[in-house]
């Protein structure tokens, strides 16, 4: 399998952080801490720092759980090859978090369904849905509760952008863009 998902993302001049390679829990923690320090050094408001930090974590944990090339290193420890980048635009004080990874063909419909189910919901509706789904016993303790996408949508300025590109017969490249 091609482990180089890199080159999925075009890194532009506004990129302030990028990662391309093997992501695991340790790298996720290091990257999240680096991003947090970077934003604090830019004097970003605290809620903005929190939103970027949390959405980076949600994005990476989704990738670790669902990417087709995710490898289980040990119990509860996974590693996956992926790309991600964070850009900053001073004009409107906006951060853009982009990621790219491989997914199995069957996960394409699952992701699309989840995004479609929350598309167009306002903040209050998203908060209500988050509460409802968080308390749903039957979905509890599954990776697939879909809460991550609700939180991404709740804390993004614009709707989540996704794109699927056929990679081979069984996999797609999955790109995700969050405007925070």
């Amino acid at each position: 399998m091609d482990n180089k998902v890199t080159l999925c993302l075009a890194i532009d001049g506004n990129s302030i952080y990028k990662f391309s390679g093997k992501m695991n829990e340790k790298n996720m923690i290091n990257s999240a801490n680096t991003i947090e320090k970077l934003l604090i050094s830019q004097s970003a408001p605290k809620d903005k720092v929190q939103n970027v930090f949390e959405l980076f974590i949600e994005t990476i944990q989704n990738i670790l759980n669902y990417a087709s090339n995710s490898i289980e290193l040990s119990k509860n420890k996974r590693e996956v090859t992926c790309d991600c980048s964070l850009s900053f635009f001073t004009k409107d004080n906006t951060y853009i978090l982009e990621s790219c990874n491989l997914i199995h063909k069957e996960n394409k419909a699952l992701i699309k369904d989840r995004i479609d189910s929350i598309a167009g919901l306002d903040k209050q509706s998203l908060r209500k849905l988050l509460r409802k789904n968080s308390r749903s016993k039957k979905k509890k303790h599954n990776y697939g509760a879909g809460l991550g996408y609700i939180i991404m949508s709740l804390k993004s300025k614009l709707p989540i952008e996704i794109e699927f590109t056929e990679y081979n017969n069984t996999m797609f490249k999955y790109r995700q863009k969050l405007v925070i």
């Binding site: 809620d47 930090f53 949600e58 908060r127 988050l130 509460r131 968080s134 509760a145 809460l147 939180i151």
Partner: protein, 126 residues
């Protein structure tokens, strides 16, 4: 049942669960790779604690001092609050701490307090 004292990790909170003092606290960031595995002993402890709550005059204090948490931790917080609510223990003080300069913390408090009105969760801005 042994008390639980977990020091703060890089992506896990400090956890204090002291039976004799009736003191429970979560402090820091919470985004372990397998959140449910991390919190399972904690929710089990809480269930045991409240199932064996014989002294009706004893006061239990629960402090939530999270900085950041992932979506799986959100589920766990709901589970913990469910356990607290199901316990029917009256002498309980539950506090949600948040940074006054960060509106997310207040919104989280609003969501939890509205979802669990019987618990009378109090907010503490710092």
């Amino acid at each position: 049942m042994n008390d639980i004292l977990l020091e703060q990790g890089e992506n896990t909170p400090k956890v204090i669960m002291n039976q004799a003092k009736g003191f429970i606290e979560f402090k820091g960031k919470s985004y372990p790779e397998n959140t449910f595995a991390f919190y399972r002993p904690i929710t089990e402890w809480l269930k045991y604690y409240f199932n064996n709550y014989s002294d009706k005059h004893k006061v239990t204090t629960v402090n939530f001092k999270f900085l950041y948490f992932n979506s799986a931790t959100t589920q766990i917080i709901f589970e913990i609050l469910d356990i607290l609510q199901d316990s029917k223990v009256k002498n309980m003080k539950i506090y949600w701490f948040y940074d006054k300069d960060n509106r997310n913390g207040l919104e989280d408090y609003e969501d939890y307090s509205e979802e669990f009105p019987e618990l009378h969760i109090e907010s503490k801005a710092y």
